[in-house]
């Protein structure tokens, strides 16, 4: 069974080359990229943003950010 696991996470850190370090509710850390169909345009995700992450059991070390969830963000 190769169904991906889907869970909620938060962007912890912006890494080079459009990668992000995300943390789940338990504080576990995972390097993620934004899924292709979200990014014909560049998707702006920032530390603190809540995202939905998909992880394939075939490649559990990496995650795909498949959606942004409503995030309260202070405007500067």
């Amino acid at each position: 069974m190769n169904a991906p696991t889907i869970f909620a996470g938060v962007i912890a850190e912006v890494l080079p080359n459009a990668r992000y370090r995300c943390e789940d509710a338990d504080g576990r850390s995972l390097v993620c990229h934004v899924a292709g169909d979200m990014r014909l345009k560049v998707v702006r995700v920032l530390p603190g943003d809540s995202v939905t992450i998909e992880v394939s059991p075939l490649d559990p070390g990496k995650g795909r950010i498949v959606g942004k969830r409503e995030t309260r963000r202070e405007q500067s």
Binding site: V14, P16, N17, A18, G36, D37, M38, R39, L40, K41, V42, V43, R44, L46, P47, G67, K68, R73, Q75, S76
Partner: protein, 259 residues
């Protein structure tokens, strides 16, 4: 990683940009009541291929077409097809070209026949935001100068600003670093970028009559305004050169694709 371009590379980027602008101008002339978005897509693809380029969007992460055709409350990533344009619609058309392995990327919102004053004002404001951003973009300036210019026009005119999508570096890939956001926040100020010679970026303000919040449709591509407000989108690719800022996505005569 940020890649700076040589003068020769910027020349090719301008050739790619000219093809994109030419195709966009054609699409704008054809965007009249009764035309379908699929017809615009087919024509743009033919123009790009005739010029020796390839449509960069087609097949990009599986996107099925050569243009994004985003009508009214659609912000970006609208998939062209059988939809027929109607008098009073506004359509944002986005074109990406690969030519001699370099990218041209430009977009513009067009009025379909006569549009409401509010739609026209939104389009004017978005075009003005792009112009203000290009004016604010100076070699040795900062990326935040661009973001602030867009944000100021949007806020002064009372429009929502789409924050979920950003401009980007342009080169042999359509999306390179740096991201070019349309608003200023702490993250940008902490990671601000000097606009140095050789940098090439696409600036693309997206303004809305509502809040600017977004949602992705059931086709998993089309991005809509969450509140159903109208949206407009203008984009140019620009290069920072020894002689100043050069707009790369212009027509043969040096002009913009007319709205």
């Amino acid at each position: 990683m940020r890649v700076l371009k040589t003068e020769r590379e910027i020349g090719i980027l301008a050739d790619a940009g000219k093809i994109a602008a030419t195709a966009l101008a054609w699409a704008g002339r054809q965007a009249v009541p009764g035309a379908t978005t699929g017809e615009l897509d087919a024509g743009v693809e033919a123009i790009i291929r005739d010029a020796g380029g390839t449509p960069e969007f087609k097949g990009y992460h599986g996107f099925p077409a050569s243009i994004c055709a985003s009508v009214n409350d659609e912000i970006v990533h609208g998939i062209p097809g059988s939809r027929r344009l109607r008098e009073g619609d506004i359509i944002s058309i986005d074109v990406g070209v690969r030519y001699k392995n370099f990218i041209g990327d430009t977009a513009r919102t067009f009025a379909i026949g006569n549009v409401s004053d509010s739609a026209q004002r939104l389009m004017d404001a978005t075009r003005d935001a792009l112009e203000a951003a290009i004016t604010a973009a100076n070699t040795d300036g900062r990326l935040s100068d661009i973001a602030r210019a867009v944000q100021t026009v949007a806020e002064d005119r009372g429009y929502g600003l789409v924050r979920d999508y950003a401009g980007h570096g342009v080169g042999t890939k359509m999306h390179e670093d740096p991201q070019v956001p349309n608003y200023v926040d702490d993250h940008l100020l902490r990671n601000d970028v000097v606009l140095e010679e050789g940098l090439v970026i696409a600036i693309e303000p997206m303004l809305c009559t509502g809040t600017g919040k977004t949602r992705v449709g059931s086709d998993r591509w089309t991005v809509y305004t969450a509140d159903g407000g109208l949206s407009a989108h203008f984009e140019h690719s620009i290069a920072f050169t020894r002689k100043g800022v050069r707009i790369l996505t212009l027509l043969d005569n040096g002009e913009e694709a007319a709205a």
